[in-house]
């Protein structure tokens, strides 16, 4: 079996725009799941609302495409009522960090045994490019026409502080690293959070001076700071560049978890 066997062939074409990074992240996730030897009938995908959350509809397993922000609360019900099921959540920055922020915090606190893959494109893509809690300060969107005035959320720091057992961040460029991180998340009992920074050419890139998809991917790549390098900078007392984000495995621990069979 390969990751391709997990897709519903009768759902094509998908809704994603040309150049979207979500397909890459779905592929990485399914490639990781394929290595877990999970049966399709024992695997459930749950999602909320947004481009990211359409992903379960393209996958063959039982899946729950729910209301905006509530994916983790639905997933909690699925997992607690049947601990035999492997539950994976696809979500996005708006779905998870804005409207679903409370469920995110409490799912980390409960350390419930599910894996969350967050496609962070720093924008509300599906509704037409409005600013989200992870839109970088100064960036343009349809609701921040003068540049976003708000600081952006660091979702991984939030997950670590709230108690998740596994936390990692990679990008749609770092496909092998992302796949390994999802695999590690799937293997870790308790709440696993993998954030994938990704490009939205239609609604983020074109308003923020990325004329080509490759320009935005290049930007994401060049602004990803490896955790080891960040740690070294901190150790040497040097300043960590404020426009970069840390990638790598950010937490792996063994707090008591809920819903582990």
């Amino acid at each position: 079996m390969t990751f391709e066997d997990w897709f519903r062939k009768d759902r094509l074409p998908h809704i994603y725009c040309a150049g979207c990074g979500n397909g890459t992240i779905i592929n990485c996730t399914l490639a990781a799941i394929d290595q877990m030897d999970w049966k399709k009938e024992e695997t459930v995908f749950v999602s909320g609302i947004g481009c990211s959350s359409r992903a379960p509809g393209y996958i063959m397993t039982d899946s729950l495409h729910t209301t905006h922000g509530r994916a983790l609360a639905f997933a909690t019900g699925v997992k607690m009522a049947n601990k035999k099921l492997h539950v994976v959540v696809f979500t996005g920055d708006g779905d998870l960090a804005a409207i679903g922020g409370n469920h995110f915090i409490h799912s980390c606190r409960r350390n419930i045994d599910i894996t969350v893959v967050c496609m962070n494109n720093q924008i509300y893509g599906m509704t037409g490019g409005q600013g989200s809690p992870t839109t970088p300060q100064g960036c343009l969107s349809t609701t921040t026409p003068y540049g976003s005035a708000e600081p952006a959320f660091d979702l991984c720091e939030l997950a670590i502080a709230a108690g998740a057992n596994y936390v990692a961040r990679w990008t749609s460029y770092h496909v092998k690293e992302l796949e390994r991180a999802v695999l590690a998340g799937l293997q870790t009992p308790g709440f696993s959070f993998v954030e994938a920074m990704t490009q939205c050419p239609t609604n983020f890139g074109r308003r923020n001076k990325f004329k080509q998809v490759a320009d935005q991917v290049e930007f994401i790549k060049s602004h990803a700071l490896l955790k080891v390098k960040r740690d070294r900078l901190v150790e040497e007392g040097k300043e960590v560049p404020s426009d970069m984000f840390v990638v790598g495995e950010l937490a792996r621990r063994n707090r008591p978890a809920m819903g582990v069979q």
Partner: protein, 348 residues
């Protein structure tokens, strides 16, 4: 295999006792109690649990009920069997947390956006709280619809002797037949249930979906047919789910009541042994059993005591050609028998 029973909750007066009892007793019977971070979360969690085959419920009151509305619509759209207990308190907003009301009767019917139908049951005693809860689970599984147990603070905090039968009837959820599409309705418009974890590979979405469960949100005819079926499967069953008593059907004046006000009407009838006052006592409030009204052939007017400003009286007006007199009572007290007797006497 015994099915896991699932209760999700969030503390709110005057329904917290249900969460407390569930948290104590569910683990003892192999079930799960989850206290979620808010009522949006508890409604979501119980829908998730329901898709694994568990009989799922939550209990709440006014403000929490308002928060559940979005996911109640999701349960209606995805045809998820679930039970929501609302121990009604005075509203709007925070209102009267410790006082009784029946102000959510229209919210439970129409509260989420879009068209859909639900089933709502109203207990007026501790015994009915018991029997109607069991009934609610059976109806939820039978029709794949959210079922509301619309109690109020008076019934919720009432202490009475009850009879617990040796066996409670348990109607199992109809499983999806192999080879049938997961949202293909049977003759009664209800599709078989594709339980998660059994290899159906069902995609469940709140978007308008076809019989495969796949989103088709811009198909005009498909959306019309889907929503019509969601409404019809409940409305067509109105005779089967109806639960009411008729007392003194030849009377010219007829009380109609549900929930706690039933008790006051019972007192009025008890104090007035003549058979000249009729009573329609309703337990299944939605879908409203309008055919029961026709049994009062001599009725000159209907009197409807409610702990609200006439929410069900308005529904009754749609069906009869004689006056419908709303007798509202707000603030938390029941009507006094004398108040209802006075309403009778004021008529010639």
């Amino acid at each position: 295999m015994t099915r896991t029973e699932f209760c999700a909750g969030y503390p709110i007066t005057p329904s917290s006792e249900i969460a407390e009892e569930c948290s104590r007793r569910m683990p003892l019977i192999g079930g799960i109690y989850m206290q979620m971070e808010d009522e949006l979360g508890s409604m979501a969690a119980l829908i998730g649990a329901a898709w694994t085959g568990a009989r799922s419920m939550t209990a709440t009151s006014g403000p929490g009920f308002s928060l559940m509305m979005e996911n109640i619509g999701y349960a209606a759209m995805t045809e998820t069997p679930c039970v929501i207990v609302n121990i009604q308190r005075g509203g709007p907003s925070t209102g009267q947390p410790t006082m009784a009301a029946q102000g959510d009767m229209l919210q439970c019917r129409f509260g989420s956006h879009g068209d859909y139908s639900i089933i709502a049951l109203c207990p007026s005693s501790v015994q009915e709280m018991f029997t109607l809860t069991a009934q609610a689970f059976n109806l939820a599984d039978r029709y794949r619809v959210p079922v509301f147990l619309m109690a109020d603070e008076i019934v919720g905090h009432m202490r009475e002797k009850i009879t617990v039968p040796d066996r409670v009837e348990n109607v199992p959820r109809r499983e999806l037949a192999k080879g049938v599409l997961p949202f293909y309705p049977e003759h009664d418009l209800v599709p078989g249930f594709a339980t998660f974890g059994k290899g159906y590979g069902v995609h469940v979405t709140g978007l308008t979906h076809d019989e495969r469960g796949y989103p088709c949100a811009t198909n005009v005819r498909l959306h019309h047919n889907l929503v019509k079926r969601l409404v019809d499967k409940v409305e067509n069953a109105r005779h089967d789910v109806a639960d009411y008593d008729i007392i003194n059907p030849d009377a010219e004046q007829v009380f109609i009541a549900y929930g706690a006000p039933v008790r006051t009407v019972q007192q009025v009838l008890h104090d007035n042994p003549d058979k000249n006052v009729g009573f329609l006592r309703i337990r299944t409030v939605w879908p409203f059993p309008e055919f029961a009204l026709a049994q009062f052939k001599n009725a000159q007017r209907f009197l409807v005591p409610e702990l609200n400003f006439g929410q069900m009286a308005r529904e009754i007006e749609r069906y009869v050609n004689v006056p419908v007199v709303s007798i509202p009572k707000l603030g938390g007290d029941l009507h006094l028998p004398s108040e209802l007797t006075a309403a009778l006497g004021g008529w010639k």
